[in-house]
Amino acid sequence: MSSADRATLARLLLERGVEVSCRPDAAAATGDPSGGTTVVVGNFGGVVPHHGLGVRVLDAEGVDLATLATTIERGPEVSAGGAPVAWKPWFPVIDYSRCTNCMQCLSFCLFDVYGVSADSKIQVQHQSNCKTDCPACSRVCPEVAIMFPKYRHGPINGEEVTADDVRREAMKVDISALLGGDVYAMLRDRSVKAKSRFSKERDDERALKERQTCLIALQKDLDIPPEVLAALPSPEEIMAKAEAARVRGLAAIQAANPDSKV
C-alpha cells in the first residue's frame, strides 16, 4: 500500500477504536493473545499470504479505504443493531508522586468514582461513574495530584505543576463548604430567619432561589457541567455519602498510619 493509503486507513481505523500496527513484513503477524482478531491488510495482488489461527487477511487492492475500514471494524459477522455508543474515557488519573493519601477526593466525589485499595491507598475504582467533562474533584485536591488528561487547561490536563499552581490550591474553597452540609445548613438557617422576620409560612420559592444561587457559584468555581449539577443527589443523600466517605477515608488513613492520631 502507498504510505498515503496506509496513513489514511490507519486514521480511519483509529477513529473507529481499532488498534493498528504497521509492520513491513505482513507474514510476521500473529494472533492477538488476548483473544481479539488480528487483521492483516495489504496489497497482495490476489495472492493472499497464509496465516495461522486468529489472523484474518484482507487484500486491499482495488478496495475503497472507507469500505475497508468498515469491513475491518465489523469483523466476519456484521453485528445486529446500531454502532456501539462510544464512551468518552473521562476519569481522574492520580499522580501518586504528589498524592498524600489525604482522601479529600474520596470525601468529595458524589459518584463513587474513588475507593480505597487493599493497602489503604486512594484509588480510582469506578472510572465509568465519573461524569463526563466534570473536573471538580481535581480542584479540591490540595496537592494538585489529580489529572484529567482530556481537560483543556493545565495543570489538570497533566501539565507539570508549578509553585503558582500549588499556591492557588491553598486558597481553594473550603472543602467542608462543598460537601453540602454547610451550604444546606446555611440555606436552612437563612430560610428560618427569613420566615421569622416576614412570615410564619414556608417560603419554598425563596429557598429554591437561594439554593440555585449557591449552586451557580459552586459551578463556576469548580467548572462543573450544568447537567452534573442537575443530576446531584438530594441533600440527605449527599450528607449520607459524605459521612460514609469520611469514615472510609479516616479508616484508610488510620490503617496506613497506625501511630498517627486522626
Partner: protein, 124 residues
Amino acid sequence: MTSSTARILYCHCAYAKVVPPEVKAAVLNGLSEADVEFDAVPDLCEMAAHGDARLRELASEGPLKIAACYPRAVKWLFAAAGAQLPEGAVRIWNMRVEPAGAVIQGLLDRGDGAGDGSLAERAE
C-alpha cells in the same frame, strides 16, 4: 521479550479534541512515509480505564517512544493500568503543544534508541 531498538507508540486521542487534528494527521503520515514499524492505539485513556494488558506489555518491552499528550498524564495513565514505564527508556512527545514536524523528527531519530531518561516534557 525486550529489544534495544525503541518501539514507537502513537496515541490517536480518539475521544477528545485536545490534540489538533492536523498534527495527528501529519504525524501518522510521517510515520507511514518513513516505512517504520509502529503501533497506533485509538486512545490511551480508554486503555488505561479498562486496565488493558497491552499497556503492561508495551511498558516491559524495552525502549519506547510515545507520541501522545503531556508526559505526566501519560506516565500515570500507564500506572493506572498497572504498567510502570521504565525510567531512562521512554521519551514522550506532546502532540497537544509540539508541532508535528518536531514530533516526527523525534520519533524517527534513530540516534537515540534508548532515550535520555526523560519522562519530562521535551522543550522546543
